[in-house]
C-alpha cells in the first residue's frame, strides 16, 4: 500500500506538490493526468525516493520513503532518460544484474516483438526506440510498483498500440501497480483502470475509469432548458453560443427533458474541462 500523507514539495516559492493525501492499491494500471507543470513528475520522483518531500510523509507498505531510503519495491522510469551507450542486449543484461528478479525472458521477447535490434548501441536507436527500450527495462523489473513518466513520448501510432499491449502483458505476467503519466488520454484509457488527475500540485480526482464513464457527461440544448437542470450538479465546464448551451458535468446522471441532449464525455473532454474548466462563450 502506497500512502501520501499531506505531502508538499516546494521549489523556491512554488509548491510543485501541495498537501497531497492519496492512497494507492497494490494492483492495477493507473493513469496520472495533468497539464505540463502540474506536478506529475515531481509526484512520481517523490514516490520513488528520487527527491525528498519538503513536508508530509510518503510510505510504501508502512515504510517511510526518502532519498536516503529509496523503496526497493518502486521503480521509476523517466522518458527521454539517457542510458549508457551500450548495446541493447548489454543494457538488458546490466539491468538484470542490478535488479532483483528482472525478467530477462520478457525483456528479450518484447525487444524481438517490437523489432528492437539488440546489437545496436543506445545512441544508434531512434528517440522512440530509446524510450521503448527504457520502458521494456522498466516493465521487466519485478518491482511491485512501476512508475512510467511520459512513456509514449516520441511514439508513432503503431508504437503507442504496441506500448498498450506491452503494458497489458506485463500486468498479466506480473500483477502489480503501474502508474503511467501521459498526455494521450484517450489512448491510455483503453488499458487503464483508474485515473489520478493532478493540477497545480493538488490531486483533483482519483477515480475508476468506469466511474468517470458513468459520471462524466454533457447536456446540450437551449439555454433556457439546460440552465435549470444544472442546479445542484457538479458543472465542470460550460459553453454558450447564442441561445444554446452545452454544460459538462461530473455528477450523477439525470434524465434530460425533450430538447436537451445528454452525451457521454470523452476522457479528453472530461480532463480538459476538469483542469481547465470554466465558462466558454
Amino acid at each position: 500500500m502506497i500512502e501520501f500523507d499531506h505531502v508538499t514539495k516546494r521549489y523556491g516559492g512554488v509548491n510543485a506538490i501541495d498537501r497531497v493525501c492519496l492512497r494507492l492499491p497494490d494492483h492495477g494500471i493507473h493513469c496520472l493526468l495533468g497539464r505540463n507543470g502540474a506536478g506529475k513528475t515531481t509526484w512520481m520522483k517523490l514516490l520513488a525516493g528520487h527527491i525528498g518531500a519538503t513536508s508530509g510523509a510518503i510510505t510504501v507498505d508502512g515504510r517511510p520513503v526518502s532519498p536516503g531510503r529509496m523503496p526497493e519495491s518502486v521503480n521509476y522510469i523517466e522518458s527521454g532518460v539517457t542510458q549508457f551507450n551500450l548495446r541493447v542486449s548489454e543494457l538488458m543484461a546490466a539491468a538484470a544484474d542490478l535488479q532483483q528478479g528482472f525478467d530477462q525472458g520478457f525483456a528479450q521477447e518484447m525487444a524481438d516483438r517490437l523489432e528492437l535490434d539488440r546489437r545496436k548501441r543506445f545512441k544508434q536507436l531512434s528517440f522512440g526506440m530509446r524510450t521503448m527500450l527504457t520502458t521494456i527495462i522498466a516493465l521487466a523489473n519485478s518491482s511491485r510498483a512501476i512508475l512510467l513518466d511520459e512513456p509514449t513520448l516520441g511514439f508513432d501510432a503503431i508504437m503507442r498500440q504496441q506500448f498498450n499491449d506491452l503494458l497489458l502483458q506485463s500486468h498479466q505476467a506480473h500483477p502489480r501497480l503501474i502508474v503511467v503519466s501521459t498526455h494521450l488520454i484517450d489512448e491510455i484509457a483503453k488499458v487503464t483502470e483508474r485515473l489520478i488527475v493532478i493540477d497545480r500540485g493538488r490531486v483533483l480526482l482519483q477515480a475508476g475509469i468506469d466511474q468517470v464513464d458513468e459520471l462524466a457527461y454533457s447536456l446540450s440544448g437551449p439555454t433556457a432548458a439546460v440552465q435549470p437542470l444544472l442546479a445542484g450538479l457538479n458543472v465542470i465546464g460550460r459553453t454558450s453560443a447564442g441561445a444554446l448551451t452545452t454544460a459538462q458535468i461530473y455528477d450523477h446522471r439525470i434524465t434530460p427533458p425533450p430538447g436537451v441532449v445528454l452525451e457521454r464525455l470523452s476522457l479528453q473532454d472530461f480532463f480538459i474541462n476538469l483542469v481547465g474548466g470554466g465558462t466558454h462563450v
Binding site: H50, S66, P67, E72, F84, D97, L98, Q100, I137
Partner: protein, 234 residues
C-alpha cells in the same frame, strides 16, 4: 546485495571512456617526451643536467577523473537501469578502491622497472616519480604500492564527495572553504603548521601512520558522501 554492488562497479568501470582516454593521452605524451630525450641522449646529446618526470605519475589522473565522472555522469544512468542508491554508493567506493590499487600497481612497476634503471643510467640528472618525492620508496616496493594506493584512494573519495556536493549550497561552501583554508592557513605560521601536519600525516608519515590516516579519512569522506548522495536528486 554484493551482486548488485559488483554489477554497479563493473558498469561504472566499463563506462569511464573519457577518463581512460585522457589518461592514456597524457601518459603517451609524457612517454613520448622521455623517449625523445633518450634518443637524443643515445645519439650523443647531453641530457645529464635534465630532470625527467616519470610518465607513471600521470596514471594518477585516472582515479581522479573517475571520481568526477562516476557521480557526475554515471550516477543517473546507473539509477535509470534500476540500481538503488545504496548499491551505487558501495559500487562507487569499489570503483575508487580498484582504480587506486591498479594505478598504484602500475606506477610501482613503472618506478622499479623503468624509472630507477633510467635514473641509474646517468643519462638524466634524475627521474622524478612522486613515490620517491613522498618518501614511500624508502620503505620498499610494498610500501610504494600500499602508501600510494591509500593516498590515491583518499584523494578519489574526497573528489567524489566534492563532486556529489556540487549544485548545492554546501558544495559551493566546501569549495570556498577549501580555497580559504589553503590561502588563509599558508601565510599564518600557526595555521601553516597545522596544514603541514595534515599533509605530513597523509603523505610523509611512515607507512603505517600514513596508511591509517589515509584510510580513516577516506572512510569519513565516504560516510559523508552517503549523506550527500541521499540529497542528490536523480
Amino acid at each position: 546485495m554484493f551482486k548488485k554492488v559488483w554489477a554497479t562497479t563493473r558498469l561504472n568501470l566499463r563506462n569511464l571512456g573519457v577518463a581512460y582516454l585522457v589518461t592514456a593521452l597524457v601518459v603517451a605524451l609524457m612517454l613520448g617526451q622521455t623517449v625523445t630525450k633518450l634518443v637524443i641522449s643515445l645519439d650523443g646529446g647531453d641530457m645529464s643536467q635534465q630532470l625527467e618526470t616519470s610518465g607513471g605519475n600521470f596514471f594518477w589522473l585516472l582515479p581522479l577523473l573517475a571520481a568526477i565522472l562516476v557521480p557526475a555522469r554515471n550516477y543517473q544512468r546507473t539509477i535509470s537501469l534500476g540500481a538503488k542508491r545504496t548499491s551505487f554508493w558501495w559500487g562507487a567506493l569499489l570503483v575508487q578502491a580498484l582504480l587506486a590499487a591498479a594505478v598504484a600497481l602500475i606506477n610501482t612497476v613503472v618506478y622499479y622497472a623503468f624509472d630507477l634503471p633510467l635514473a641509474r643510467s646517468g643519462r638524466f640528472d634524475g627521474v622524478v616519480n612522486l613515490v620517491e618525492v613522498f618518501g614511500w620508496a624508502d620503505h620498499g616496493p610494498l610500501a610504494v604500492f600500499g602508501q600510494q594506493a591509500a593516498f590515491l584512494f583518499l584523494a578519489a573519495v574526497l573528489v567524489q564527495a566534492l563532486t556529489l556536493a556540487q549544485g548545492k549550497w554546501y558544495g559551493y561552501a566546501a569549495d570556498v572553504a577549501l580555497v580559504a583554508i589553503i590561502s588563509v592557513f599558508t601565510p599564518i605560521a600557526g595555521l601553516r603548521a597545522a596544514l603541514g601536519w595534515f599533509f605530513h600525516q597523509i603523505l610523509f608519515a611512515g607507512p603505517w601512520p600514513q596508511l591509517a590516516a589515509c584510510l580513516l579519512l577516506a572512510a569519513l569522506c565516504h560516510w559523508l558522501s552517503r549523506w550527500l548522495l541521499a540529497r542528490k536528486a536523480v
